[in-house]
Assembly symmetry: C2
């Protein structure tokens, strides 16, 4: 499944739309963020996506996990938010 990568510059409404679209199609979305600014945008996007999906009768929650990603050959710790229906 595709991972939705979020940066500190990401627009929350655009990320929220992507999350809602992936949930509607796959019933699960993964959002990945590295650094405080990106994590903040990711969390706000999930809050907005919850609103979008509630209109469809879907009540989603997020499960935060640590994950390790390779950025230009260096290991970085990222936050992964797994978004699934409650």
């Amino acid at each position: 499944m595709n991972v939705i990568k979020v940066s500190s510059d990401s627009r929350t409404s655009a990320v929220a739309g992507a999350i809602a679209g992936v949930i509607r199609e796959h019933n699960r979305a993964e959002v990945q963020a590295i650094g405080a600014g990106a994590v903040n945008q990711a969390v706000k996007a999930v809050a907005i996506a919850r609103g979008y999906l509630q209109e469809d009768g879907l009540d989603v929650v997020s499960i935060p996990e640590f994950t390790t990603v390779d950025i230009d050959g260096k290991e970085r710790t990222a936050i992964k938010l797994v978004v699934v229906p409650r």
Copy 2:
């Protein structure tokens, strides 16, 4: 119920311990953060608390919401993470 307030200086393991304690007692915890640094610490704390609580057989998820708080007479938008068993 008490709200666990997190700042960018909060130690994630201490916040995680507080979340786990409130969940064990009340089956629900609310974590509040204002600003990217604080939200990042809050999300990491929830990820760590998930590990603590899994040892007790509890699988918790977080529900991010926007909320408005009064800081020195000014309205600020905060992120509230509601942590509940799945």
